[in-house]
């Protein structure tokens, strides 16, 4: 490269470039030098450098240095980065950074220097120093003591200057920021300081530097304290911190810096989150007996507060695993998580979380999940791919145990973006699992109990309505309340040697005790009917049986005997039988004594002949006691009107009309058991529906 070309390049360089001869005269002056010093090349070249850019007070030492170099060939300024003060053509001074090289040529030494204006940098450093000086002055006298105090505070304290750089940090703050000294901190790019952390607020919204209270304060806003969660992406350490900022003002009242107090509230915040979670999970777990849905809700609660994903597996008695809930913080990843759970469920590797838990019966904590672990537990390449895609950082698997039996497992996983779990997380997961296990167990017990109740209830009702000659029959039984309880109402039909007996009754109370009494009543009536089918006789036998029981067992019952068109009825404290005739409805029979209650007893019978097409309706008091709006009861009058309206319809139709009327009337939940029996005397020997259909229209009805 020739000299002329080199000069062209130097001329347009972005740094001032100046050359000087042995006499100290300027021989070259580029465009940037013209701008920096406010002097054209024509003006500069030929003048001595000392008189052009060096303040008067430094000129002698410059000349002395030049003389010494020419004598000895050594100089302190050569090839060294120097910070000096320079002057412009107008006499103003400014700081520069200078590098000078010396070249030996045929006609002697030449010197070449790059000169950079560093006014801005120096100004900001001066500002920092000034603030520090001021801070120290403010702490004067006891400065050392105060510094010791500030340094010993557990709270991290930082001071942010107007240019948003951190200019001071106490020891706790330096540790938090992973800085060795205030100097190192001051040199760091404030944005870069946040770099390794994922920082979000309480609602999970990302926090940027512009959201920090100190930065907002310097911007002229009045920020509220900020609670934020920072996760160190390098090691998964998660912290909750509370930032409070206060302004430092200069004499004129202008904000010149912001002091931030950073309080680590991780323990308190986690405790709060956990107790909130437990309260919420407790309510959720208690809210429903559909345990699968419940567990799904709990898994949903755990994310994202406790983990990035949560899975619940239940084991059957034979060890079959069923994943009932998977929740993931990222909806798109739910499928991946589900696929992972479902991947060859029979092949749980003993070193995997579930495997470890199953093998040892103890909770498993994986603080950091390594790729080596993934490789070890992967069933095949596809599985390994899924495991890697899940980007798991840390995991906890705790057993769900009830009375020493492991019924399932709760798995919490944090991903690379999340934090590492520790022992306290493990303890907490155990607490959740314990509650979840109990909820599952009670739901199971409840459904078993309901199953027993259903079975018992069914055993207290006839398996199917009998085919009575000359009669069409429909019946209804609606138990009130929880399905796990056996109701107290019952009805029964049985054939007593050519005569048919029907009994409908209501045992006071519910549950197994009521079921026992019901069973006693039915069996007593069956046995008694082998000797004497008179309804009054049956009621009398039942009354005696109940009176023999310890304590008070009370029951109402209505007993009806039919033989052809002839009916005989007696009531033991039970609502009377309704007779639905062609022209209207009426109660038939007389009141008899409640069964099992009294020593003075009477069961008057009434016998009557039914016309073909006439209907009998027996109810329990659940029908008339049904509660409607404004606390009104359905009552006898409404029942009578209803029966009158439907008196010509079939038993099945009447039953449906009664159900509909009660459901329409009823406000709130059904309070009492309800039973209903409807019997219609056929116009001729009853034909089954199939026979009617076969016979075609015009036959039968």
């Amino acid at each position: 490269m020739d000299l002329a070309y080199a000069r062209k390049i130097l001329n347009v360089a972005h740094t001032a470039f100046i050359s000087m001869d042995e006499q100290g005269r300027i021989t070259y002056w580029n465009i940037r030098a013209e701008e920096t010093f406010g002097l054209s090349r024509e003006q500069a070249v030929g003048r001595t450098l000392a008189e052009t850019i060096i303040p008067e007070r430094d000129r002698e030492s410059h000349r002395e240095g030049l003389r010494r170099f020419l004598q000895t060939g050594e100089g302190r300024v050569i090839d060294t980065r120097l910070e000096l003060t320079a002057i412009r053509a107008d006499g103003s001074e400014f700081p520069v950074e200078l590098i000078v090289s010396a070249l030996r040529e045929e006609d002697g030494w030449t010197f070449h220097g790059f000169v950079a204006d560093i006014s801005e940098r120096v100004a900001s450093e001066r500002e920092r120093q000034r603030l520090l000086d001021e801070l120290e002055r403010a702490l004067s006298g006891s400065e050392q003591r105060l510094r010791t105090i500030v340094d010993s505070l557990a709270e991290a304290i930082t001071i942010r200057g107007r240019d948003n750089r951190l200019i001071y940090a106490n020891r706790a703050a330096l540790e938090r920021l992973d800085m060795r000294s205030v100097e190192e901190l001051a040199a760091a790019d404030p944005q870069a300081l946040m770099g390794p952390y994922t920082t979000v607020d309480e609602d999970g919204r990302e926090i940027g530097m512009e959201d920090l209270p100190s930065v907002r304060l310097l911007r002229g806003e009045s920020p509220e304290p900020l609670l934020m969660r920072t996760t160190d992406r390098r090691d998964g350490d998660e912290r909750w911190v509370l930032l409070k900022a206060a302004a430092v003002r200069d004499a004129a009242g202008e904000i010149e810096a912001a002091v931030t107090i950073i309080e680590d509230v991780t323990d308190a915040k986690r405790m709060q989150l956990r107790s909130e979670f437990l309260a919420e999970a407790g309510a959720t777990l208690a809210s429903s007996l559909d345990y699968q849905q419940t567990l799904r809700n709990v898994a949903g609660l755990a994310v994202p507060q406790l983990a990035d994903w949560c899975a619940v597996d239940l084991f059957d008695a034979d060890g079959t695993r069923e994943t009932v809930a998977v929740a993931h913080v990222d909806p798109a990843s739910v499928e991946l998580a589900s696929r992972l759970r479902a991947y060859q469920p029979g092949q749980v590797h003993p070193d995997s979380g579930l495997g470890t838990m199953l093998r040892t019966g103890e909770p498993a904590l994986f603080t950091e999940i390594s790729d080596a672990l993934l490789q070890r537990i992967a069933v095949d390449e596809e599985h390994l791919g899924l495991l890697r895609a899940a980007r798991m950082r840390s995991a906890i698997v705790v057993p769900m145990t009830v009375r020493g039996r492991t019924i399932g497992a709760l798995t919490l996983v944090s991903t690379q973006a999340g934090r590492s779990f520790d022992e306290s997380d493990l303890d907490f997961a155990r607490q959740i699992a314990e509650r979840a296990a109990l909820a599952v167990e009670s739901a199971r017990l409840y459904s078993e109990r309901s199953e027993i109740a259903r079975t018992l209830q069914n055993s207290l009702l006839p398996e199917a309505l009998p085919e009575l000659p000359d009669w069409e029959v429909a019946a209804l039984y609606r138990p009130a309340g929880h399905e796990s309880e056996v109701g107290g109402d019952f009805y029964d039909f049985w054939d007593a040697g050519g005569e048919w007996l029907m009994m409908i009754g209501d045992v006071t109370g519910k549950g197994v005790r009521a079921a026992t009494v019901t069973s006693l009543v039915r069996h007593t009536a069956w046995t008694a009917s082998e000797f004497d089918t008179r309804p009054a006789h049956l009621l009398e036998r039942v009354n005696s049986a109940l009176r023999r029981r310890p304590g008070l067992s009370v029951c109402t019952a209505l007993c009806l005997r039919v033989s052809g068109g002839r009916a005989t009825v007696a009531s033991g404290g039970h609502p009377l039988l309704w007779r639905l005739g062609r022209d209207g409805v009426q109660e038939v029979g007389m009141h008899g004594t409640l069964l099992g209650a009294f020593s003075r007893v009477e069961w008057p019978e009434e016998s009557f002949e039914l016309e073909p097409g006439e209907t009998l309706v027996a109810i329990t008091d659940g029908v008339t006691d049904t509660v409607g709006g404004e606390d009104e009861r359905f009552g006898t009058t409404r029942l009578q009107e209803l029966l009158s309206d439907v008196r010509l319809e079939s038993p099945a139709a009447i039953r449906e009309r009664v159900i509909a009327a009660l459901e329409q009337f009823q406000v709130g939940a059904q309070a009492d058991d309800t039973a209903l029996v409807v019997m219609r005397r056929c116009a001729e020997p009853a034909l089954s529906d199939e026979l009617r259909a076969l016979a075609g229209p015009g036959v039968g009805a």
């Binding site: 009130a480 309340g481 209501d506 006071t508 008070l552 009370v554 109402t556 009531s571 404290g573 039970h574 609502p575 009377l576 009141h591 008899g592 004594t593 409640l594 209650a597 009294f598 020593s599 003075r600 007893v601 009477e602 008091d621 006691d625 509660v627 606390d631 009861r633 009552g635 406000v667 709130g668 939940a669 309070a671 009492d672």
Partner: protein, 112 residues
């Protein structure tokens, strides 16, 4: 479950013994409260207990059972029990079950 409708209980101290006036509905939900009031009234072993049912608007089998048990207790413990007859809709429960003739009903509260 059944919506609990109110039962108001008002206890008077007559010369012959306590008198409890019932107003509202006596059912499975309110019967325990009446039982408590009765137990409290009988704690001092009075010679007589009067239950005024004239303002009782509804009675179910739990309520009826309570009266039956109480009548047995009166016999065993030797105090006089008097039930002031309720109005017709409520009285019908006692009629249907023939409890009316088995329980110590009176038409008016006995004179103090």
């Amino acid at each position: 479950m059944a919506v609990s409708r109110p039962l108001e209980l008002e206890r008077h101290e007559d010369a012959g013994g306590p008198r409890i006036a019932l107003r509202g509905e006596l059912d499975i939900a309110t019967a325990p409260r009446l039982q408590e009031a009765i137990d409290a009234a009988l704690a001092a072993a009075p010679a007589r207990l009067v239950l005024d049912l004239r303002e009782l608007s509804f009675l179910d089998s739990s309520g009826l059972r309570l009266f039956i048990v109480l009548a047995g207790r009166a016999e065993r413990e030797g105090f006089q029990l008097a039930l002031v007859r309720p109005a017709p809709p409520t009285l019908s429960v006692f009629r249907i079950t023939r409890a009316e003739e088995n329980l110590p009903f009176v038409d008016e509260p006995p004179s103090p």
